[in-house]
């Protein structure tokens, strides 16, 4: 699916990356539609995180281009939520100061930053005390703070690297519901890496299935389920059909 730059938030062309001579990407193309939530799913080690790390400018690529409406990543506001919230939050700052940090980096005036913090807290219906230190919060609360920090700067693109994998099932369900609501409300272009197929389908407008290395697209699956998607969507016939299709694609991708 090729999108013109106006409709696309990201255009990736001819991406190349190898680790110690082993190619992961050799000429990879991808366009992500503005406002879409794209989930990336694939076998272990196929380079899902590598892809978003290159897109986020955290990892150098060997070749090709990744453009945000024609601009390099350094000129774009992005948000990134790491898998391990314990290692991603700044434990020496209170939760609220963690969220304020990127706003301070951008030189936002104090009043505007406070307004932004309050808006985020309202949007995520935060009921715990943001003036606590991260280690005083539960895992789910810490990851919620990470997500708020990533969204604080109103990013053009949000990257989520297995954001729920360190959380228990109950927390995952509620955080997932909250996140999809906010992302759809804000219409943030989002790229989600997940190792949970069900989660990928529930959260995504579009699911990209990747093959083993060297990585190519095994299937590009639209997920036209209605929003919001609660737990009832899990038994929706369309959901079940999409999941069945993805599973068979996945099995082929792993077997190949």
């Amino acid at each position: 699916m090729r999108l013109p730059p106006r409709e696309a938030a990201i255009n990736i062309r001819g991406l190349r990356k190898a680790f110690s001579g082993q190619p992961v990407y050799s000429g990879f193309d991808l366009d992500v539609r503005r406002g879409d939530i794209l989930a990336i799913f694939g076998p272990n080690g196929c380079g899902k995180s590598t892809l978003i790390n290159m897109a986020a400018g955290l990892l150098a690529r060997d070749g090709g281009e990744i453009l945000y409406d024609g601009r390099e990543v350094g000129e774009v506001r992005i948000g990134y939520v790491f898998q391990n919230y314990r290692e991603a939050l700044f434990p020496w700052r209170r939760a609220a100061d963690n969220v304020r940090y990127p706003l301070r980096l951008q030189g936002l005036p104090r009043a505007a930053a406070e307004a932004r913090l309050e808006a985020l807290a309202a949007m995520f219906r935060v009921r715990f005390d943001l003036n606590r230190y991260p280690y005083e919060l539960s895992g789910g609360q810490q990851q919620l703070v990470s997500i708020m920090r990533a969204l604080a700067v109103e990013p053009e693109v949000l990257f989520l690297d297995e954001p729920f994998s360190a959380l228990d099932f109950e927390t995952t369900l509620s955080l997932r519901a909250l996140l999809q609501q906010v992302l759809k409300e804000l219409r943030v272009t989002t790229i989600l890496v997940s190792h949970d197929l069900e989660e990928s389908i529930v959260l995504a407008d579009r699911l990209l299935m990747l093959t083993r290395r060297p990585t190519t697209v095994a299937a590009d699956v639209p997920v036209p389920l209605p929003w919001p998607r609660g737990t009832e969507v899990l038994s929706h016939p369309d959901f079940v059909a999409i999941k069945a299709r993805c599973l068979s694609v996945f099995e082929q991708a792993v077997a190949a």
Binding site: L58, F82, E87, A88, W92, Y133, R149
Partner: protein, 249 residues
């Protein structure tokens, strides 16, 4: 309150052990006076002002050398740690001198700083600075990579990352280094006071009392030095708990 019971009992046991040794005449009473006698001599020396002055001088020298060591060791360690390749280059030299007994450097420093105050403070500062530098550098080198990436993805420059992330990441290790450094500084200062033309300080008092067979005072001065070391260690432990309450959590 209860936490203090066990150490108090331990100390009491030690004094009792000492008293028993005196009763059994394990050593000549001139060399091993009774605890009460040692305590009385020490108290008198304190009341007379000499031992208090010695303690104060030792504290002053230790504090000065520690302050110099911190002022040099922390910034240099952080800077070297941020440039890991550079640190690997100087690591051997740092490790070598860190492992060299500081007392072996006295003659060299005597040439450089003369027989006065300078040498005592300089050797202690030198030894402590290396320990602090080493710990600060390792604190920075072992900073969680994810936090650095998180800052970078939020648009922090290298200078901001150093100031907002690396220094904080290294803080627990820096404080460990400072605790080790202040202990080492005290050790070196006391040794220096014994052997490098001193007229005061706990080291001077200990060796002077020994030569004059003032055994009670000698033990007293030793215990004051011990209390000083213990107190400094405790002070830094408390500071660690307070200032890096978030460490490891």
């Amino acid at each position: 309150m209860r936490a203090a019971v066990a150490p108090a009992l331990g100390a009491l046991g030690f004094v009792l052990f000492w008293q028993v040794a005196v009763w059994l005449r394990v050593a000549d009473p001139v060399l091993l006076p009774a605890p009460a006698e040692a305590f009385r001599d020490t108290w008198q020396a304190f009341a007379g002002g000499t031992l208090a002055h010695d303690t104060w001088r030792t504290v002053q020298r230790t504090a000065l050398s520690f302050a110099i060591a911190t002022a040099i060791g922390v910034p240099l360690g952080v800077a070297l740690g941020a440039q890991e390749r550079l640190y690997r280059g100087v690591e051997f030299v740092v490790d070598f001198f860190r492992s060299t007994p500081a007392s072996a450097l006295f003659p060299l420093f005597l040439i450089l700083f003369g027989p006065g105050e300078g040498t005592k403070v300089a050797v202690a500062a030198f030894g402590a600075a290396l320990v602090i530098l080493f710990n600060a550098a390792y604190g920075v080198i072992n900073a969680r990579r994810t936090r650095v990436l998180a800052a970078r993805v939020m648009g922090a420059s290298s200078a901001r990352i150093l100031r907002d992330v690396l220094v904080w990441e290294a803080m627990p290790q820096i404080l460990v280094g400072m605790r080790a450094g202040v202990s080492l500084a005290l050790v070196i200062v006391v040794v220096a006071e014994m052997f490098i033309g001193s007229t005061d300080g706990l080291g001077h008092r200990v060796i002077n009392a020994q030569m004059l067979f003032e055994s009670g005072l000698m033990y007293g001065a030793i215990f004051v030095a011990g209390a000083l070391g213990y107190g400094l260690n405790l002070l830094f432990l408390m500071a660690e708990k307070r200032f890096v309450h978030w460490a490891g959590r």
